[in-house]
């Protein structure tokens, strides 16, 4: 299986000419530890860019909503009577209690449980308890603050910045061209789950931005299926990239040992599944700042990463598959998800000990291999958004990859 001479040529050409790459300076550990740097990230990254929050099939009918429990602000995403999905601050404009309390559900209106002010599904203040005691309430002044909310196919994104560029511009033409056929097709949420970790949000994010660890961490699982030695990275503007990892030749795949190999599944294939790129590789796009996915045959998990505090983060997984319409949900999903959870645990199991060891010797740097270039790209993009002049010199990550972005 490790005999390189038998391998087929790669069908997908990477856009990065690795021989031309400059050496990557180490990443300062304090970027994962420093409260001031974390606050800069919240202000210039998390409050400025588009953040994936879910898929439209989770919002079945008017009034379907989900609360996002973020460190940034309390947010509710809700489908209106007009079927449009909107995002609001979950924050009553009277004295700030929440207008919805359950994590998810379906509500005819949003009604504050403190004094009962009521908002329509479109965020308009429609009911004030004892309006006679508020002489000067101008209609319109106390509607729920709305956030930008746009979609890429079925994926829902929010943005705290009113002035942000449109979502599609942020995603870049190359990302849209490459993956829109998948997201614009009928998909469905198969599974959703979240874990909290005592580590900075960039640690789980990093783990999805390189294939270098596959041979060690995923030796018994993913490594049976794909050949990480031949993984390539191509980078786009705005911090997005794709990691492409070729499957082993068919005969080398150890069928049976790890029985959750989606490519062998009988479920309906994703759009693009039959293209040479997808038949030969697991395709792993990382969309800045906070999500990564691994397309494989019939479905894929989207991992999204959220800051909770400087040394705490949340990882959410949203498994999407081809919509199975009215047919019953296939039992095969269970197997796929169980297999994928094992992999996720392999990835995430390390994180807390990493945070601790970074903190133990905070002035060191993290050296990166060429194969880990997408981690460098993530950090460089964070700095671009914060503005290097706002960052302490010893924490900066200089932008040296510009010329390699497609």
């Amino acid at each position: 299986m490790n005999d390189m001479t038998k391998l087929q040529p790669m069908p997908w050409k990477t856009t990065v000419d690795e021989s031309k790459l400059p050496p990557l300076p180490p990443i300062p550990r304090r970027r994962y530890l420093d409260e001031d740097f974390y606050q800069l990230e919240l202000k210039h990254v998390w409050r400025k860019v588009w953040l994936l929050v879910g898929h439209e099939t989770e919002y079945e009918k008017p009034g379907s909503y989900r609360l996002l429990d973020l460190d940034l602000a309390p947010v509710v995403v809700v489908r209106g009577k007009d079927m449009k999905i909107r995002a609001f601050l979950n924050s009553c404009q009277h004295r700030g209690a929440t207008v919805l309390k359950e994590k998810e559900g379906c509500a005819p209106v949003m009604s504050c449980q403190y004094h009962g002010w009521t908002y329509s599904l479109e965020g308009k203040l429609v009911g004030v308890t004892q309006p006679d005691t508020f002489p000067h309430l101008n209609p319109g002044d106390y509607d729920l603050p709305e956030l930008r909310c746009e979609q890429w196919g079925g994926l829902i994104f929010i943005n705290f910045d009113k002035e942000a560029q449109p979502l599609r511009e942020f995603l870049t033409k190359s990302v849209l061209d490459r993956y829109s056929p998948i997201f614009e097709s009928p998909l469905r949420v198969v599974w959703r789950h979240a874990w909290d970790f005592n580590c900075n949000w960039k640690l789980p994010t990093d783990a999805f931005r390189e294939a270098y660890h596959i041979e060690t961490i995923h030796k018994k699982t993913v490594f049976q299926m794909i050949d990480c030695q031949r993984a390539t990275t191509d980078m786009n503007h705005n911090g997005h990239d794709t990691i492409t990892v070729p499957y082993w030749p068919k005969q080398a795949m150890q069928e049976g040992e790890w029985d959750a190999i989606p490519v062998l599944s009988k479920l309906a294939p994703l759009p693009l599944a039959a293209t040479p790129e997808f038949t030969a590789n697991v395709i792993e796009p990382n969309i800045f700042p906070n999500f990564s996915m691994a397309f494989q045959g019939v479905g894929f998990p989207i991992f999204s990463f959220w800051p909770v505090s400087v040394d705490r983060s949340r990882v959410e997984v949203l498994w999407l598959g081809v919509d199975w319409g009215d047919a019953p949900k296939s039992a095969e999903w269970e197997t796929l998800i169980a297999g994928s959870s094992i992999v996720a645990e392999e990835d995430l199991g390390n994180l807390m000990s990493i945070q601790k060891s970074l903190a133990a010797d905070p002035d060191k740097g993290i050296p990166l291999a060429t194969k880990e270039i997408a981690i460098y790209q993530l950090h460089a993009e964070i700095d671009r958004l914060i503005g290097p002049e706002n960052i302490a010199p010893e924490l900066r990550v200089p932008d040296i990859l510009r010329d390699f972005y497609a």
Binding site: P74, A97, Y114, H115, D132
Partner: protein
């Protein structure tokens, strides 16, 4: 309460009810300008409160019953300074900084106890129960030491009935003068003859004023306390009395279809009293605010007083002090337990909003607070903060304008 006071409150219920039926804002009452949220979240304002409120106000530190005999002491440190409260040989309760005059070691360690003298464990300087320095080991090493001038540094310590208050400000108004009209109005609740029967502690993730606000208005009764309180009280008839120095009271009448609030609601469970002075605690709910940080709900027998202590700009420790008359026959423990549980359940409803409110304030979702007529006590509270801190010391964007002067009942 005297018969004419009771009659007066009942008349005021009627006025509020009929006003609320017409749906008109009370004639001549000013619309309240919005309160800047920075007063809850800005570290500068928090610092001003530390300087001008917590260092200069009368703060409840305990109950005389905790120090029954000469030499009984307790330590108290909820407002940023360590206080030692001790009963002297003359039975008087005094308060001192718990700091030795020699080199500042803490004089007494622990939480409470009994002692004959106050002796410092560092080098052994010793003070009597009235704070006089009485013994200095190797006194000859301190030539010219004037023992009389080196007593413990006192704090103001005064009593409201059995309740002990301290104040760091040596120039503060005497406690009873500070309470003024409030103490007069509450005189029938016999603060000199009550004892503490339980203290329930809570720690909340919000600024101290967010949780206090929740207890200063009845506007939330129907939405927050749907099943627990709303079936008994009708907030539309609420009467608010605003007194000088930031104190106030809120009386919410019982639903008109009920002649008496009943055991399910009042803390006086099992009370068969028909003492005419206490008619309104049986047919309405009376609560009072003592500036800066006490809110109590009156009853003839058991009732709670809540004390709110900031532990940070966004965190608060709440002590619920449940009191009862000293001569109260011991309550059936089963009844006592269920009343306390019922009360704790209502508290839980009140507290369920506060974390979200703090978050809304922190993230800028709410930048100023629009208060309605029924929430005017919250505005009064802010006016008192403004007066104590001094508008000129407050950053302009955090200031409020006094609006309620004409409505204070002297």
């Amino acid at each position: 309460m005297k018969p004419d006071e009771i009659a007066d409150l009942k008349r005021r219920f009627d006025i509020e009810f009929s006003r609320s039926e017409t749906g008109e804002y009370p004639a001549a009452f000013p619309a309240l300008p919005p309160v800047p949220v920075g007063r809850y979240t800005d570290p500068r304002f928090y610092e001003l409160e530390q300087q001008h409120i917590w260092s200069k106000s009368w703060l409840i530190v305990g109950h005389a019953g905790e120090l029954p005999e000469p030499g009984c002491w307790k330590l108290w440190n909820r407002a940023g300074f360590p206080a030692l409260i001790v009963r002297g040989k003359d039975m008087k309760i005094r308060a001192f900084y718990n700091s030795c005059r020699h080199r500042g070691a803490s004089l007494i360690r622990g939480t409470s106890g009994t002692t004959k003298v106050l002796d410092c464990k560092f080098h052994g300087w010793t003070y009597d129960l009235a704070g006089q320095l009485i013994f200095v080991p190797a006194e000859h090493e301190f030539p010219g030491l004037d023992k009389a001038a080196n007593g413990l540094v006192p704090l103001r310590c005064e009593m409201w009935g059995n309740l002990i208050f301290v104040n760091r400000d040596m120039d503060a108004l005497p406690l009873m003068q500070h309470l003024g009209k409030a103490a007069e109005q509450l005189v029938d609740f016999d603060f000199d003859k009550r004892r503490i029967c339980a203290i329930l502690p809570y720690d909340l993730p919000c600024n101290w004023k967010i949780i206090m606000d929740a207890f200063q208005e009845s506007y939330h009764l129907d939405a927050t306390h749907v099943r627990s309180v709303a079936p008994f009280l009708d907030y539309r008839g609420s009467v608010i009395e605003m007194w000088p120095n930031g104190h106030s009271a809120l009386t919410v009448p019982g639903r008109r279809e009920l002649s008496k609030l009943g055991d399910q609601f009042v803390l006086d469970a099992g009370s068969k009293s028909d003492d005419p002075r206490h008619e309104l605690t049986r047919t309405a709910n009376i609560s009072f605010t003592i500036f800066p940080n006490i809110i109590g709900t009156c009853a003839e027998f058991q009732f709670p007083m809540l004390a709110f202590w900031p532990t940070g700009i966004g965190t608060t420790h709440v002590e619920i002090i449940i009191t009862e008359p000293q001569d109260c026959p011991d309550m059936d423990p089963a009844i006592a337990k269920t009343t306390i549980e019922r009360f704790a359940a209502v508290m839980q409803e009140d507290m369920s909003n506060v974390a979200a409110v703090q978050e809304s304030f922190d993230c800028g979702a709410v930048r100023e607070i629009q208060l309605g007529y029924l929430e005017r006590r919250i505005y009064q509270f802010h006016e008192e903060l403004e007066r104590r801190i001094g508008s000129q010391n407050i950053p302009p964007e955090l200031q409020i304008r006094p609006m309620l002067g004409a409505y204070i009942e002297h």
